[in-house]
Amino acid sequence: MKADIAPRLQLRGITKRFPGVLANDDVSFAVRPGEIHALLGENGAGKSTLVKMIYGIMQPDAGEISWNGHPVTIPNPKAARKLGIGMVFQHFSLFEAMSVLENIALGMDERLGPRELSRRIAEVMETYGLKLDPQRIVSTLSVGERQRIEIVRALLLEPQLLIMDEPTSVLTPQEVEGLFATLRQLAKRGCSILYISHKLHEIKALCDTATILRGGRLVDTCDPKAETSRSMAEKMIGGSLKDIRKGEGRSFGAPRFVLRDLSTRSEDEFGVAIDRASLTVRAGEIFGIAGVAGNGQNALLDALSGEVLGERADAITLDGTAIGRLSPSERRRKGLCAVPEERNGHAAVGDFTLADNAVLTARDRLGMVGAGLVDRRKARSYTDKVIGAFSVKALGAHSLAGSLSGGNLQKFIMGREILQRPSVLVVSQPTWGVDAGAAAAIHQAIVDLAAEGSAVVVISQDLDELLSLCDTLAVINEGRLSSPLKVGEASIEEIGLLMGGVHGTEAEVHINPGGGVAVEA
């Protein structure tokens, strides 16, 4: 790259303030033509806010954006697309009930007839080796295929800069390889790529430059290939990494939590059902469930917590007692506590105080209800105990759950369940959207609970998390569980193939020469 060419994108002193938070503070960096540039940072570091300003969804409070050497203002996404900026969103901007073609048409500012649009889509798919059926309804597609719609939609604009927000969190390792091939091909043609991630090994494998944000401020711009994962992580976190302390020579007790051919029906037309899931978790064991998003993780959690009931009582047993037909409250009384993935509105009520949120799940095990009345003193004192033990940053038991940051709320929720001393704890995405400090604390609490003899099930899309936390691992794919693998004996490739649904399905899998893994039913 020649240094005298004007950068494709240059940010100078970008600042954005939200009520109570400085989301971006004087951020400056540049992206060269054809460069794959990583934007690295923890959740809440300000990456998403920054790219939303580049794509025109938000406006900076101060600072300047230059495009190919000229200062510009980008009032809305349409203006961004006109400049040649494309974006692939982390939580896709797709419309479930519409066809692929309609979804793509919605992202185009040019007015094309359906025939012309189909032709152009076919062209782009040909060039980049992406496979999609334009007539399919989005709700019938896998998460990987949905991402492909977003990519095709962005590529149709022939962008000079493509922004990708956490693109691999929904992909199997094989699909990630395919995506990287597409991105490298794009960069070779001169398109710049701004790649947002917190996965360090991916950034080392793909990117030319990395800009690291922490707490809204730019910490460093570096060459990821010259850094180690650890050194980048420490810049990202602003401290040294803590390792999980697992006890030496752990041994497991008797089976405490057993699933035998557990099946549930899907709740809605777009949902996934659990199909004959079996597993055994022993006392002291941490059992991980890996899988690509949208393969039935939520359905599994609902089935285990009792929110959705299966047909047979003996499909789930806890210390030998059949609990498959019990309600969530009854299961909690028997000793099973659960934490769903979505914090706001599922695991906690944002409009309620923390004390009321304690009543939500801890009322029976801790005797917070007598004669039909809520014992508010007991609820408050338990809440204070959780806040203290898990160092939750909150003003007190009367704080609204919705006023806490994601990490603090998650610590509160985990604390609320763990301090009930459950015999079985089931958690989904325990550290999703949580900063590294809180994540480490949560991981340690899970390990400590297991050390006391509880059986723990951790459902997560973050394979790294599962590999460092769990003793045993199974993979969920389209509602089916694989047979368990011992962590340490399983290879990433094997797990990746399971995540892609290779075992036991009738689907035919092949790897495109230039693209990702395509699964055809």
Partner: protein, 309 residues
């Protein structure tokens, strides 16, 4: 029964269906954009009194319809401002609009009670309507032709036009539509305005098409039936047409029961008068029995739009 009578009945049925059809078409578009406006009944009453007053004063029913459309639209903007700009609860605001429309129409209608107006004359030469069969084609009020044109127009708009695609996208996933760069609030304002205008016109059907005088609360819950009809039709314009005519038939039965007595006296008149409301409940039950899981309802229906910033 003679052909003459049969045709007279069919024309009555079509007339009785028309206000429900027009109001329901408007509400269908509103709901497709993700907004639930329960104020249809109120906007219809506002349209009815405006249509009547303007026609009575000027003698021009066309001007009456135009002003009814405008009044309906203006009242829908109260709803739009509260629910879209201030994120107020849509159910409560819609109810408030209905209470408002009821009070407004009673207040302004008072002066007109008991005074007749001349409704529309046929837009076709009268010779065309002499033959009974031709009357079936040419013998309707212009409002009937308007409603039929609007069925096709709404269908075309929603399924074939780009603006309709955007409107559906906003109702399907408002956050996605916002992040691609569409103005969710803008689209919804436009949809609510259209729904208001249609409800206003639907209201004007009561004095201009059905009974050429003003009566308090003359819409008699038809706005609510229109709301139910949208659910029944699974948000599809042509099924709305079928549903509206079905209801027209039920309501015509009620009229005949009241008028002719004898043949219908095996059941009390009050039961006949309850039929449209009972039929509405029945229809809602049937439709939810038939559709297992798939409702075709816009995913964002009734939810306030809350972007991150």
């Amino acid at each position: 029964m003679t052909t003459e009578m049969l045709i007279a009945i069919i024309i009555t049925v079509i007339g009785a269906s028309t206000p429900i059809l027009i109001a329901a078409l408007g509400e269908l578009v509103v709901e497709k954009s993700g907004v639930l406006n329960l104020g249809v009944e109120g906007m219809m009453l506002i349209g009815a009194v405006t249509g009547f007053a303007v026609t009575f004063t000027t003698g021009n029913p066309w001007l009456g319809i135009a002003c009814a459309a405008f009044a309906g639209m203006a009242s829908s903007m109260i709803f739009a401002f509260l629910t879209l700009s201030l994120s107020a609860n849509q159910v409560a605001t819609g109810l408030a609009l209905t209470i408002f429309g009821t009070g407004y129409s009673s207040l302004f209608g008072q002066a007109f009670t008991g005074r007749p107006i001349t409704p529309f004359r046929s837009i076709f030469p009268p010779e065309l309507a002499t033959d009974p069969v031709l009357r079936l084609i040419f013998g309707h009020s212009p409002l009937v032709y308007f409603s039929l044109i609007m069925v096709v127009a709404v269908w075309w708009f929603l399924t074939r036009s780009r603006a309709g695609l955007i409107l559906r996208a906003v109702g399907e996933n408002d956050l996605s539509a916002h992040s691609i760069g569409y103005s969710v609030i803008g689209v919804r304002y436009a949809a609510v305005a259209f729904g208001g205008a249609m409800a206003g016109i639907a209201g004007s059907c009561f004095p201009l098409l059905l009974t050429p005088q003003w009566a308090e609360r003359m819409t008699a819950g038809r706005g609510w039936i229109a709301l139910a009809l949208v659910v029944f039709a699974a948000w599809r314009p042509f099924r709305l047409l079928a549903g509206a005519y079905l209801f027209g038939l039920v309501m015509t039965l009620e009229l005949y029961a009241k008028a002719s007595g004898g043949a219908f006296s095996f059941l009390p008149a009050e039961l006949w008068a309850s039929l449209p409301y009972l039929a509405t409940i029945l229809v809602l039950v049937l439709i939810s029995l038939r559709r297992a899981g798939h409702s075709n309802a816009p995913a964002c229906l009734g939810k306030p739009f809350m972007p991150a910033s």
